[in-house]
């Protein structure tokens, strides 16, 4: 039986088509996935992301623990509220999960992990914590709403609790501010400006409604997926998993190599792979003609199969199909993708495809 978030009734009353996702019953769309996508690129949309799990790390060893746990280095976080995106690796260098961690105090960090991986993540977090003095607290009492789009901040700010409004208005990108039991981060998964807002479950339905009243469109997981794909953001389980390293998933930039003596989990495997010129590449693809690139379609260079699409779809902002693919090292400027037995040519491009409402690649 799939779980329901505290906004379930609101989704139903707003006409959502609900589908199972990561153990939860979540909105796929509220009528038109494409319209919701455009709404976020052009104005403001909101997503129920309460299925994701907030985990607080409390205790004197929170920092040394995270420096061991994560491939990115929380030492980079100097100011309270600053966020960091990182992979959490296993000993083989595979990705257990990708997450955002916020630094609040030396003895308080907060992370947000994926819904479908939550139980596995908590087991892993606890296992890695054996030699550290800290508490790992999943915050199941918190809901999370992402408000995204060029007008998202302007529309959401006046609706926030008065005592945190000023500090939230001053937030720089990738920073967060706590207050009044809420926690507001200027982060997102769409390539647009906006907030991710954690708040007590009891207050979430009311806040969702006032956002709707202010003209923020409810958007489902369908639009969330096409928005993140256009924005060049990876999806755990599709673009990377426990059997593939961040270096073969386009996430090399999230690995903090310095200082060399920091021994994070998976480091030895990644150190070796870093020098391997034969490792697979993670590339963006743009389909020249008609059709839609889909997950798992095979990629060819001439007659040779060189890899497969990890996530693909139609990009409503571009009116074309785009994808991420994991391919052999020697890929050129174009490749072929097999769609229903026919080969079509795709251009190899560098993600992101879209940022702040505009195409970043030439069509």
């Amino acid at each position: 039986m799939d779980k329901q978030t505290c906004l379930y009734a609101a989704h139903k009353s707003m006409g959502a088509r609900l589908v199972p996702f990561g153990g939860w019953e979540m909105p796929l769309h509220y009528g038109s996935q494409k319209e919701e996508h455009h709404q976020v690129r052009r104005d403001a949309g909101m997503f129920d992301v309460s299925h994701m799990t907030v985990v607080d790390l409390d205790g004197p060893d929170a920092r040394p623990y995270l420096r061991r746990l994560l491939a990115n280095d929380v030492k980079r976080l100097k100011d309270s509220g600053k966020a960091l995106y990182s992979c959490m690796l296993n000993e083989q260098g595979g990705v257990v999960d990708d997450l955002i961690v916020y630094f609040l105090r030396d003895d308080w960090y907060r992370m947000v992990v994926n819904a479908g991986t939550t139980e596995k993540d908590l087991a892993w977090l606890n296992k890695q914590a054996e030699d550290f003095d800290l508490q790992i607290k999943p915050r199941r009492d918190l809901a999370m709403i992402a408000v995204q789009g060029p007008n998202a901040r302007e529309k959401a700010l006046p609706l926030l609790p008065a005592e945190i409004r000023e500090s939230v208005a001053a937030l720089k990108p990738f920073n967060a501010a706590p207050g009044d039991g809420w926690f507001i981060a200027r982060t997102g998964y769409t390539g647009e400006d906006g907030f991710e807002i954690m708040l007590p479950e009891s207050e979430a339905p009311g806040f969702w409604q006032v956002l709707a009243d202010a003209g923020v469109a409810p958007c489902g997981l369908g639009a969330r997926d096409t928005l993140r794909l256009e924005a060049g953001m990876n999806l755990y389980g599709s673009d990377m998993d426990e059997d593939v390293s961040p270096l073969e998933s386009g996430l090399g930039w999230t690995v903090a190599w310095e200082p060399a003596e920091r021994d994070f989990v998976g480091r030895s495997v990644l150190d070796a792979q870093r020098k391997d010129t034969g490792k697979r590449r993670f590339v963006g693809l743009l389909l020249a003609g008609r059709g839609v690139l889909r997950n798992h379609l095979k990629v060819f260079a001439g007659e040779t199969e060189i890899g497969e699409i990890t996530s693909g779809g139609f990009a409503p902002t571009l009116g074309r199909s785009i994808a991420f693919a994991r391919v052999s090292a020697g890929i050129g400027e174009t490749c072929d993708v097999e769609i229903r037995g026919k080969r079509v040519t795709a251009q190899v491009v560098k993600a992101p495809f879209v940022r702040n409402g505009k195409a970043c690649i030439s069509l």
Binding site: T226, R290, V292, P316
Partner: protein, 130 residues
Amino acid sequence: MSNTPSELRYAKSHEWVKNEGDGTVTIGITDHAQELLGDLVFVDMPEVGDNVEAGSECAVVESVKAASDIYSPVSGEIIAVNEALDDAPETINDDAFGEGWIFKVKLSDAADLEGLLDAAGYDATVAEET
């Protein structure tokens, strides 16, 4: 409540067939089918002049979510395709039973029509699936 037009005939694979009364039929996908697919983004149409067999794949509709084969419910020759769908595939979402038609077939055997479902039969099929 059903909005399945009673004047059309249907295939279990969610195509509708309109008998034009001159030995030709117009074919599209049902409103139920477009709703399941979500926003359509491309339609791969057959070639005019192609011969199709009843039950064979002859077109593909691609939505934001998935690609789906369209089967011809009848045998015959493709005599027209809805070229307006090239630029506006969303017409199928907006008007599945009308402007969103996909292709027309000149029947090779009018008896093909007799094996198709009426509106009530199609609605029953949909009810079984859901």
